[in-house]
Each structure stands twice: as C-alpha cells, then as structure tokens.
C-alpha cells in the first residue's frame, strides 16, 4: 500500500523511474551474458538467440522496451525539470513521459503480432 503522503502523480513518477531503473539494472547482466556467448563462436550465440524466439520471451521483450522507454522519457523529463526554465506543469510532463513510453511499448507489441 502506498502511504497517504505519497499518493500524488510526481511521487508515482519518481517510484516508476526508480523501479524501472532497478529492473533494467537487473536485466543488464543477462544482456551481457547473452552477448558474451558469442565469444565462444557463432554456435552458442545462435542457440541463445533461438531461445529468444520463444513467444514468452518475445512478450517479455515488450516489457523491456516499455521499461527502457519509461526510464528514458522519465529521465528526459527530469533533465528538463532541472535544466530548462521552470514550468509549473510538472504533472502534465510526467503524464506525457508515461504516455510516450506506453506508445513506444505499444508500437513494439503491435509489430510482434
């Protein structure tokens, strides 16, 4: 349960940014591990890549794209907040960042099917 003083859009945007960042950090070792299989020749890499054709993995990739997008747009929002002249519309900007991420993830999901 989110404690009452945290129930507002910018805190949720902060939480989303933190959680997506942590999940991406967890994904990175797997990413490098897979790329690292190429060190032993094309064979192991191809085997690993064949595994990623699994529909479940494909679907997980959609989540990954969403996480990347939400972290990137959220990060751009924070840069704008901190370095551009102040805008009082911070909640709108946070909503826009999530909407752009959803659109990016959605576009990726659509080209999957």
């Amino acid at each position: 349960m989110i404690r009452p003083h945290r129930r507002h859009p910018l805190w949720l945007a902060f939480a989303l940014h933190r959680v997506s960042g942590l999940l991406l950090a967890l994904f990175l070792p797997a990413h490098f591990g897979l790329l690292g299989t190429a060190l032993n020749g094309a064979e192991p890499l191809d085997a690993a890549l064949a595994w990623t054709d699994n529909p479940l993995v494909k679907f997980a990739e959609f989540g990954l794209v969403f996480l990347l997008a939400v972290h990137m747009f959220g990060g751009l929002r924070l840069l704008a907040l901190e370095f551009l002249p102040w805008s009082p519309r911070q909640k709108t900007l946070a909503a826009a960042a999530v909407a752009l991420a959803a659109a990016t993830g959605g576009a990726f999901a659509l080209q999957l099917v």
Binding site: R3, H5, R7, H8, L10, W11, F14, W86
Partner: protein, 270 residues
C-alpha cells in the same frame, strides 16, 4: 472506547484551507451532534501507541480544535503545540490520517475518513512527547543551508535598489512566505532516507536569498547547497510542494538551485 461512526451528509465546501493541491482524501463528514473517533499517538522518544478518544463533532471544526478538546476535556497531560491558530506561526503541524498538515487550518470535515481521525506527531523529527516534536534538527538545517541574510553594506551606505518586477525578485517573492512549519520536511522521503539532506524548507530559503539583490552571500549559499546533502540530493518527487500548506513550491526552488550550481560548475568557478 472507539465506536464506529456513520458518516453524515455534510458538505465539502469549506474554504479557507490553503493546501496547494486541494483535497486529497475524500471527506467523510460528521453531522453536528455526532462524535468523531480520534486516535492520538501518545508516548515519547522510546516509543508509544495510539489512544482512542470520542470527540463531539462540530461545524467548521479544525483538527487543532479536536486536539485541544481532548487535552481540555479528556487528557490534560497531552503534549502538543500551537500558537496563532490562523496559519501564521507554523507550530501546529501534525500527521493527520497519514498526511502532514497544519492542524489549525485543516477542517475535520475535509480530512476525516468516515468520522475517523488518526493524529500523530510529524515524521522525520524526534518526538519529545505525544504530538510535540523537537524542531532543532529542522532549524539546524536552515543554518547549514546559509538560510540567513548576508549583508554587504552598512547603514551608512545607500540602500540597494530592488526592482519588484525583475525575474530574480519574482522568484524570491514566490518562495518567501514560508512559516517554518516543517510539513514539507515531514513529507519528504529523501529527508527520511538521508540524514545529511538539508530538506526542502532550508533549500527553499537559500533560493530566496540567492535571488535577493541585497544579499551578498551568493558563493557561501551555493557552497552550502552544492555539497553533500544539498540540492543535488533531491529526487524531485514533489511531496514538499504537494503538501506545503502555504502553497509554496520548494521543488521549484531546489530545481533553481540545481541550475545555479550546475552553471557555476560549468563556468569553472568551483
């Protein structure tokens, strides 16, 4: 002692509560004649627990009225603080149903959930007793953030002109009406997580001074707020702005300090 109260059908239209973001909890108001179920945290630095009281519900009752009623009628030893009762002194802040608020200008009708109130001391400050917290750590941060005026002239010098329409003065004016209530300090999760963090109110104060044409402490201020626990620790989660009862925007002030700090670093001055 606690009994569940059926919520009445009162209105939610009482004005006169300056919270910037409007109501964030739905009002469950009690009709006059009904009673409120109030849990008040009682204890000291070593711990404590909530005690339950039944308090008569009244029209236009504030949370501070409820606490005062308990102290006068039920629990004479209850420790709490207030002074002005009109939202000027900043001494009456408490945690009401999980949200930090100035109690003297928070209407019960607006925040009670089904006739229930839970009142606790402010978060992020040491409890002295019951609802009274030690404000020293809060004000020590004001000093650490150089939140004091740095005069550059004496009474014999001419007064520095201040243009009220200049962008810097507008920034200062927008942030200056702080009543030192520590509501933002209690709302901020970075304050909770990082003992070195100066917190929203002291940084907001530093920002007003940085924009004050008469203040000559620009470098001292930027040194104070650029260091460990300074403005760069802020995660821009905006709970300070959300809950400041005076409608100030410390998050904006801190973003301004971040810009000023970065600009100074880019220019190679520090």
């Amino acid at each position: 002692m606690t009994t569940a109260q059926k919520s009445g059908s009162g209105t939610d239209t009482i004005g006169n509560h300056g919270t910037g973001e409007g109501a964030d909890e739905s009002a469950g108001s009690s009709a006059p004649g009904a009673a409120l179920s109030v849990s008040v945290w009682r204890g000291g630095p070593g711990g404590g627990r909530f005690h339950d009281y039944e308090v008569p519900a009244r029209e236009s009752q504030t949370v501070l009225d409820v606490v005062s009623w308990i102290q006068q009628e039920a629990e004479p030893a209850l420790a709490y603080r207030f002074a002005c009762r009109v939202g000027m002194c900043g001494s009456c802040a408490m945690t009401v149903n999980g949200v930090p608020r100035w109690t003297c200008r928070t209407h019960v009708q607006r925040v009670a959930a089904n006739g229930r109130l839970q009142i606790a001391p402010l978060r992020n400050l040491p409890v002295i007793r019951d609802l009274a917290v030690d404000m020293d750590p809060f004000f020590e941060r004001w000093t650490a953030a150089e939140g004091r005026f740095h005069p550059g002239t004496t009474r014999h010098d001419p007064m520095a002109p201040v243009d009220p329409a200049s962008p810097a003065r507008r920034e200062a004016d927008a942030a200056i009406e702080c009543i030192n209530c520590a509501v933002c300090h209690a709302a901020c999760d970075t304050v909770a997580a990082d003992p070195d963090y100066l917190g929203p109110a002291p940084l907001n104060r530093a920002w007003t001074l940085l924009n004050d044409a008469k203040d000559e402490g620009r470098d001292a201020i930027l040194d104070a707020v650029a260091g460990r626990g300074g403005c760069l620790s802020c995660h821009s989660m905006g709970s300070c702005t959300r809950h400041c009862p005076n409608g100030l925007d410390p998050m904006r002030a801190i973003a301004g300090l971040k810009r000023a700090t970065a600009l100074r670093a880019l220019r190679g001055r520090r």
